[in-house]
Symmetry: C2
Subunit: 495 residues, 2 copies
């Protein structure tokens, strides 16, 4: 059998020349797979595993407990229903063309997610993760301040302080004379403080009357240093410096679920059974048997691409150490509300085109849409919060969540934040059936995490939760690639 | 007559309630205009003036010396011909869907240009003006460095230096104890230097192997402080802090000339005469006569929306002080080259999706396209330079410009920068017929500038060159609004 597979190009790398090892942007399992695989969960990890195995010729079946594919890759549109574990069900009433990415909503340039978009023909567009015209609003501030203004003031004062310390000789032991000159030159540009090395404001703060035929009226003088330091803007200023968050970022045109939809199409919709709940997973000597609400499915291998805390509750004969490992990561609570407005006041009235207002309120962030610019309606994400804040909102009815989100957002945008609202939908991920969390947190990347990277008998595990890209679709995709590579190499060897 | 116009709603603000003064996003001349206006130049200023006057009922004729509308709003596509004053003519050979914005290419959120896009139905999309994955490359550097890496190192060291000076007491007279704590807290986040206040690198620098199922391999340790200061990155780091340059920025879908095209459609193509060169401008007691290569046009008023240095050469009876004023600003040389590649290697090989690499080479910048992501071909702007650099390239033949641009870009991107090239087009704005400059520079905003804000007899002047938004289409639009408001108020009074 092995010899036959080798002849067909199925043998792994070290035995067969035409096996192509996975690469970041050009993944392929070389040759034809001969086995069957049952995949639990039609989230991004499950779909990608089925897609890659399908390309290699495996006979895949995907079982999904929810009534649609995608898992947390969830885009809500008018008419969509969203049940919660509490029993409450919302129905989205958004207008034509308005959508709400209730789960993942942004993709970094370096992430493998973009490779799948390219490969699957999912058109992408830019996503604004950081907007100089959006606001920062922390409890230390009297009123919301535009991000550009807060940054200009912060960089101005930092530059002034460092220039003065440098000129006073405080860094003589650290800096050569040449270094000092270069540093001072840099600071004069970085803080826009000129050669006086004193920050007195900058046109970078913005204008109350824009330049035109006249010179414009720059915003007034900056607040005192002490007030700017009191803003507490470390996170607001630095989050887009992160490798995962740096601009530019991307989104699929028309909604994040285009990725799930194109993956499902590529897998074959006939191979995916939705509204089928897994009841038991049994490792057998020569395969795996999965009992579910639609009957039972037997396959050579199983890939369990469910959240670990959900998977841990499913009966079967998985080793107790494996089950304990699945129980190790802690689900993280997370929530969002999509607020549909009758007009795009953030664009017309406030000149904010996409991006995020950062707050220390319980709503955490307000996201302005990166699509539909200049259109009629638009959808603002009124909160995207985690942990205690997400739990506090989750305990409320949807109407109460909306009321609370509007009360908070009104502090930044005024009465129109309430009066222009058309409809809304809120999600509490920890209350989503069969998902029960926004993502998970591991106490460490040793032990349980490492154990689950390997199969338990003929059951493999996949998901963003098994990567260092938790909460990102890229994690689900990288995990799927890892697992199908392991499975394929074993299938070829066992063949 | 005046009473009749008042009854028709044509009287200005102080005399008639229903006159709507211009506002930034909702400009209108209230009531019907009764006069005729000849407009010289179908650039953005001329078109916008004709559009606004046309809405108010004026009978406008636009004379354009070039064979197309738009002026410097110029998008080149396959088949387009580009003559230069030198006599050389290029023909663009770009493939389907590839375009080159040879003139303006980006719009800030606050600019009136976006209002015209909304009003005219020009769809807009995001433009990447700043990309963490693009490079910075100055002669002080051994090799190109990703912007994210250069910034992480710069911010890391700055934070370390300022934290150390603060902890050493160097700023005790400037900072309270509370300020010091808040500053140190900020610096630990800003520089990612933790509580040791020592910069030893950061994941913000990037990864040589991205995180996935493994933790990834961060880029190595940062270069020493002295080397980072030697990069001379002030401008590269700070240009997106500017009010005009801050992210996000925008572009029309499909090419900047969509703005000119929609304006021209709204004006009425039959009112615009292209390839008609103005030969003489004569102020008459009751109007203006314009002689041109297509005959002569008489109107109640004239709006001269040509570059001032071109306008100054046209004979007529403009006052000598006006002509001297038109000669006051200096044309600025500027050039660009559009390099069409057979594949989008910057996306696939280097994970750069849009944005700009900043250099101190004579090419100044390399722009990656913010459209056509994941497509087959793509167009990179291989230089966008000014002054001496632009003049040096302008003196070359197109083939020589291309060769020089490729030699420079190869220093950053390697051999593929040359080998993957399909075709190119270069523009030297100072050599463009009837334009003769990228834009102008004023010695001051007094005197000549102020004089030309007012009409010379019945001739009004319009263009970005009469604003504090020189080189921006927003300047042309603001100038047009200013001039048509003046003209309308006078027409109503004279009526």
């Amino acid at each position: 059998m092995y010899a036959a597979m080798g002849a067909l190009g199925l043998a792994p790398d070290d035995q067969q020349k035409d096996y192509t090892p996975p690469s970041r942007s050009d993944f392929a399992l070389s040759g034809r797979g001969a086995g069957s695989v049952v995949i639990l969960g039609a989230g991004i990890a499950g779909l990608a595993a089925a897609y890659e195995l399908g390309k290699a010729g495996y006979d895949c079946t995907v079982l999904e407990a929810r009534d649609r594919v995608g898992g947390r890759n969830l885009t809500l549109r008018g008419g969509d229903r969203l049940p919660e574990l509490s029993g409450a069900t919302q129905e989205a009433r958004f207008g034509e063309g308005v959508y709400f990415n209730a789960g993942p909503a942004r993709i970094a340039q370096w992430m493998v997610t973009l490779d799948y978009c390219r490969e699957l023909g999912v058109p992408i567009e830019l996503f604004v993760n950081d907007n100089s015209s959006a606001y920062v609003y922390n409890s230390g501030m009297k009123a919301p301040v535009r991000a550009r203004t807060a940054r200009a003031d912060t960089y101005g004062y930092i530059s002034e302080l460092l220039a003065k310390a440098t000129n006073a000789g405080a860094l003589n032991r650290r800096l050569t004379a040449g270094d000092k000159n270069r540093l001072l030159h840099f600071l004069s540009e970085f803080g826009d403080i000129g050669r006086t090395y004193t920050y007195t404001g900058s046109e970078r703060r913005g204008f109350s009357v824009n330049p035109g035929t006249g010179a414009g009226v720059p915003l007034g003088s900056p607040p005192p240093l002490s007030e700017v330091l009191g803003y507490g803007l470390g996170r607001s200023i630095t989050f887009p410096f992160g490798y995962e968050m740096a601009m530019p970022m991307f989104q699929p045109v028309g909604g994040m679920d285009a990725i799930a939809a194109k993956l499902a199409d590529a897998v074959g919709r006939d191979r995916i059974r939705t509204s089928v709940e897994v009841k038991k997973i049994t490792n057998l000597p020569d395969g795996v048997e999965v009992e579910h609400t639609g009957g039972a499915t037997k396959a050579d291998f199983c890939i369990a691409a469910l959240p670990p805390h959900v998977l841990a509750r499913i009966p079967g004969n998985l080793d107790a150490r494996v089950v304990a490992a699945l129980r190790t990561p802690t689900p993280v609570s997370g929530g969002k509300i999509g607020l549909e407005y009758r007009r795009r006041w953030w664009e017309t009235d406030e000149r904010i085109y996409g991006g995020i207002t950062e707050t220390d309120l319980d709503i955490a962030h307000i996201w302005y849409p990166s699509y539909g610019f200049h259109g009629t309606r638009g959808l603002v994400v009124g909160y995207y919060n985690l942990d205690e804040d997400a739990e506090a909102y989750a305990r409320l009815t949807h109407a109460e969540r909306q009321r609370r989100a509007l009360t908070q957002g009104k502090k930044i945008h005024g009465e129109k934040y309430r009066s222009e609202l058309l409809s809304s939908v809120s999600i509490a991920w920890q209350r989503q059936p069969h998902i029960e969390g926004a993502w998970v947190a591991w106490p460490s990347y040793e032990g349980a995490f490492a154990l689950l990277q390997r199969p338990a008998g003929r059951v493999y595990f996949a998901g963003d939760w098994l990567t260092h890209l938790i909460a990102w679709q890229a994690g689900a995709l990288e995990s799927a690639r890892n697992v199908v590579t392991q499975l394929h190499q074993r299938a070829v060897k066992e063949g």
